[in-house]
Amino acid sequence: MSHSLDAYLVLAGILFSIGTFGYLARRNAISMLMSIELMLNAVNLTIIAFGAFIPSLKVQGSVIALIVLAVAAAEATVGLSIVIAIFRNKKTPLVDEYDTMRD
């Protein structure tokens, strides 16, 4: 089981689906960011799995995964500071109460 690419890809697919559900369904902005992190991790697992099981991608897979890791850190920094800035204005972390543009 741990020697097949399909097992890792299906696992990453399940993790990505859980992240998608969390992103679509949660009301809290931080929860949505955590779901995005789950989805990024699923993509990283896919990249590593392809790198481990396809010989022509052997080293490149790890290089791409490391760069994705750094970009995910940058994304988390900016995303969380945007949430903090919005919270300072609106006094709520719930995204369905951010309705200024609806009025």
Partner: protein, 178 residues
């Protein structure tokens, strides 16, 4: 004492057993992340999920990426998220409704997405080899700092820009009341 080739009593290899344990922990805690009511517990469950994923990286033969996963995700991003939780949650937060009104359609959409991915994976021939290829740290470092040194440097500039942008976005305005 020699360790037997397969797990006693059940006919599984050790790496298969580890794969099952780690993936169960990862998926279970990921479900906790998206369903728990208390958001601090969501953050802690997310750390466990990242740790199990680092274990899977070791199992698949990418130890350097596993170490980076522990340092960056568990060490940095989780702590950042926990700090953001402390800065942004109101006292009434956990008592309120956790999900949007479209939670059921979202669950259906996520299930359909997972099913589609599983079907696509099953129907495609990837020309994969039978056992994972280990990537040593020396060869990875050689490729990263020779062939891919420009993306590496661009990522470091991107991180610097993101940190400056984060400070700019999150800093208090001089005339704000809080």
């Amino acid at each position: 004492m020699a360790i037997p080739d397969a797990v006693p009593f059940i006919n599984l290899g050790w790496d298969d057993l580890l794969f099952i344990i780690l993936s169960t922990v990862m998926i279970g805690t990921a479900i906790l992340v998206v369903t728990l009511r208390d958001i601090i517990r969501c953050g802690l469950a997310m750390m466990v999920s990242f740790a199990a994923l680092a274990g899977l990286y070791v199992l698949i033969g990418a130890p350097l990426v596993a170490a980076a996963q522990v340092l960056v995700y568990i060490g940095a991003i989780s702590v950042l998220i926990l700090f953001a939780i402390m800065l942004t949650q109101t006292k009434a937060g956990p008592a309120r409704l956790v999900f949007q009104t479209q939670a059921v359609p979202a669950a259906v959409a996520a299930a359909v997405l997972g099913l589609l991915i599983a079907l696509t994976v099953g129907a495609t021939n990837w020309n994969a080899v039978d056992a994972p290829i280990r990537v040593g740290t020396a060869i990875l470092a050689q490729v990263l700092f020779d062939q891919y040194v420009l993306p590496f440097e661009i990522v470091s500039v991107l991180l610097l820009a993101a940190v400056i942008g984060g400070i700019f976005l999150a800093k208090r305005e001089p005339d704000s009341s809080i």
